[in-house]
């Protein structure tokens, strides 16, 4: 492989990596994606598929604006992918709910939204608390215990397995080189180019974008960056296909374009991807039935657990290396919601060779060293 074959090596072939790779290819870059194999721990196969705005940004108001930017770009992003691949990722933005099963839960929810909105510099994203009657107008099948909820008109969802497939089809169409079973073991910079040692030999590229999820924690220090991560496990319960009854996604429950109902928003510290805690699934299902009693007799066809990509404070990390110019991190929990940003905003920055500080400076991992920086 000639040294100048690739402008950019993207490390990681999940949603974040392929969205970034597709965006880079659209900018005319010659791109290689270095991925693990089929047995990789892959959040892109296990996620809940929300394109979600409400609740984002408590503690980092710029994250709300960043999320809304992606949410607003999503329809066009999905349309472009459809034109390039013929595949429909079933993006919808009908607005979404948090539901409260007690006055105490509703008050807690209202408090979170107040704290979020009271932050200086926060964008108003029009989330409102609705009482039971208002919720019932939009979600007629709620149970008697639902006292109300919060609604954000910007919330939506997508078929995320199809998104994953579509992005892979799209990078192929744009002649991106995809190399599975190329786990990156080491990265060095020599003579102005990056050398990435993989289990199947060395790959060279002018720039490197680290989009390897929780593995960024291991990779980032190799190029003078850091990515403090805190992986956690989530579980999802999936029902048989049902006729459409739910016109809005709820943060813990949504009906997919194919009719199944996905239930789940659990968090556990375990990072064993093979394990599944039955009690967690039972709790998820029990709350789902209290929210929508018509689910009581519905058959469950699948449950799974997956490891969330999670930074230590939950906010994204976008960085460029000072010691290794040309090395970038693209790292976040919300690979579905932020896919449009990664493809349409972050990738062009990497193609140009510099992050646009006006957009992504708040997301530098330097925030983890406030004391040291001060």
């Amino acid at each position: 492989m000639a040294a100048d074959d690739y402008d950019v090596a993207v490390v990681g072939g999940g949603l974040v990596g392929v969205a970034t790779a597709w965006g880079l290819a659209r900018e005319g870059c010659r791109v290689v994606v270095l991925d693990e194999g089929d047995r990789a721990m892959r959040a892109s196969r296990g996620n809940f598929a929300l394109v979600w705005v409400q609740s984002k940004g408590l503690g980092l108001p710029e994250y709300a604006g960043w999320t809304i930017r992606s949410s607003n770009a999503w329809a066009g992003f999905a349309q472009t992918l459809k034109e390039e691949t013929g595949l429909d990722v079933a993006f919808q933005r009908p607005g979404g709910f948090h539901l409260a099963l007690s006055e105490k839960e509703l008050e807690a929810r209202a408090n979170v939204l107040r704290r979020l909105h009271n932050q200086p510099g926060i964008v108003d994203y029009k989330t409102e608390i609705l009482d039971r009657a208002q919720v019932a107008k939009m979600l007629p099948d709620i149970g008697s215990e639902v006292v109300g909820g919060s609604f954000c008109p910007l919330d939506g969802h997508v078929n995320s397995l199809r998104l994953f497939r579509t992005l892979h089809a799209a990078i192929k169409t744009r002649s991106v080189t995809y190399l599975p079973s190329h786990r990156v073991e080491n990265i060095t910079k020599e003579g102005g180019e990056f050398r990435l040692a993989t289990e199947q030999g060395e790959i060279r590229a002018g720039k490197v974008a680290l989009a390897a999820g929780n593995a960024n924690m291991r990779l980032a220090p190799m190029v003078g960056l850091e990515a403090p991560m805190k992986p956690e496990r989530g579980q999802i319960v999936v029902t048989e296909r049902l006729r459409p009854f739910l016109n809005h996604p709820v943060v813990t429950l949504r009906q997919t374009d194919e009719g199944t109902v996905m239930i789940g928003d659990s968090k556990e510290e375990s990072v064993d991807p093979a394990g599944l805690t039955i009690g967690v699934s039972a709790t998820e299902a029990e709350r789902a039935v209290r929210q929508f009693p018509l689910l009581a007799n519905v058959n469950v066809v699948r449950t799974w657990s997956a490891i969330r990509v999670m930074t230590q404070d939950g906010f994204p990390i976008y960085d460029e290396s000072e010691t290794h110019p040309g090395a970038f991190t693209v790292c976040c929990h919300s690979g579905v919601t932020l896919a449009a940003n990664h493809a349409l905003t972050v990738a062009p920055m990497i193609a140009r060779g510099a992050l646009d500080k006006s957009l992504v400076a708040p997301f530098s991992a330097r925030r983890f060293h406030v004391q040291a920086a001060g």
Binding site: D141, E240, R241, L242, G259, P293, L294, N297
Partner: protein, 97 residues
């Protein structure tokens, strides 16, 4: 297409989509449908193709029907009962049924 080996047993009447069907005590819903010459018991949620009881031992899930208002019951695991109302399940199940 199918014939009973033995016509003995207590007669039980069920309805299938409102039509009365003669069954025998001890029949499963799937067996009763087959004995009555009913060619298919549901259509699939994905393509709408017709499906009929197949494995008759609870494994293949082809014989899903609505029984007394509850959808997606495995016909081959449910014994018939006098007056039972069986309905063909068309495509996706309706939540709450």
């Amino acid at each position: 297409m199918y014939k009973r080996l033995d016509e003995a047993g207590t007669a039980v009447t069920i309805t299938v989509d409102g039509r009365q069907i003669a069954a025998r005590a001890g029949d499963t819903v799937a067996a009763a449908l087959i004995a009555a010459g009913i060619a298919h018991c549901r259509t699939t949620p994905v393509s709408g193709a017709p499906r009929a009881p197949y494995c008759l031992m609870g494994v293949c899930f082809e014989c899903l029907v609505t029984v007394d208002g509850i959808g997606s019951r495995q016909g081959c695991l449910v014994p018939v009962r006098e007056g039972m109302a069986v309905e063909t399940q068309v495509g996706k199940r309706e939540a709450g049924r």
